[in-house]
């Protein structure tokens, strides 16, 4: 089982990668870690925060375990743009032209209340930073 840590400010949460459902994309993410990138609130996808990482861009990569709707705790990855989405509530993968598919690559472990608050706060405080790393011992 592969687990990652997601940190925003002083808040750290653990998420489990869905390696069975999305083997290639979880491996791609795992191999890119650690990363530290700007985090902003979504402006079209609802209750989630978003980050983009150049290392994760792969326009030819198939979207595994594809979803469009987001639920609390979901971590999603859009390989065409290298975008990661962190959902703290209801959302849907949307762009200027409409709805699209993303890969459901991870799920926050436990209740996630603190990290959800941190993700939601990007709407109030503006750009933050998200650090993602491999969980020690995972």
């Amino acid at each position: 089982m592969r687990q990652i840590e997601i940190q925003v400010g002083d808040v750290v949460a653990t998420a489990t990668l869905r390696t069975d459902a999305a083997p290639e994309l979880t491996a791609r993410l795992w191999d890119a870690l650690p990363i530290e990138v700007p985090l902003v609130h979504a402006i079209r996808s609802g209750n989630c925060a978003e980050a983009t990482c150049a290392e994760l861009v792969d326009p030819d990569q198939k979207v595994e375990s594809q979803v469009s709707f987001f639920y609390p705790g979901m971590v999603a990855y859009r390989p065409a743009t290298g975008e990661l989405t962190f959902a703290y509530g209801q959302g849907q993968a949307r762009s200027e032209t409409g709805t699209h598919w993303v890969s459901y690559v991870g799920q926050v472990d436990g209740s996630g209340d603190d990290i959800f608050t941190a993700w939601e706060a990007t709407r109030s405080v503006g750009v933050s930073t998200v650090a993602i790393r491999r969980k020690e011992g995972a």
Binding site: S45, R94, R123, G126
Partner: protein, 139 residues
């Protein structure tokens, strides 16, 4: 009849918005009645490049119909939901959406002065957080 003007001030920038009395007479009249309106303008989370305020209780809550409804929110356009739950100020590519998808709004205004500067301030809500915004009648 010349449309009325509304002064919009946000983060030190002042612009005038033409109130679209001819396009949405009921909604425009209700907004005019409620002025001044002050609220924190947040970046939209469903509708794209637009800043959102919530006018609060008042005449806009009695406006139930969609007058010349639209979904697109163009740069400089100001739109309102029926019953006045929110007013959105477009600064880029926007379309009125919420959890269940696309929906309709009423065009109540458009910025006609200091447009570039005002749109730049509204755009900052996406990366810098909310900005205090006031809509008022000209002095």
């Amino acid at each position: 009849m010349t449309n009325r003007r509304v002064v919009v001030e946000c983060d030190g920038v002042r612009a005038e918005m033409e109130l679209l009395d001819d396009n949405a007479p009921k909604a425009a009249a209700a907004v005019w009645d409620m002025l001044p309106i002050t609220d924190d303008a947040f970046a939209a989370k469903w509708s794209g490049d637009a800043a959102v305020i919530h006018p609060g209780p008042g005449a806009v809550q009695d406006v139930t119909e969609l007058e010349n409804p639209v979904t697109s929110i163009y740069p400089g356009a100001v739109v309102m939901r029926p019953r006045g739950s929110e007013i959105l100020f477009g600064h880029g590519v926007g379309e009125y959406r919420w959890g269940v998808g696309v929906d309709y709004v009423v065009r109540i205004g458009k910025f006609v002065t200091n447009v570039t500067e005002m749109l730049a301030v509204l755009r900052k809500t996406e990366t810098e957080g909310p900005r205090r915004l006031t809509m008022s009648r000209p002095a």
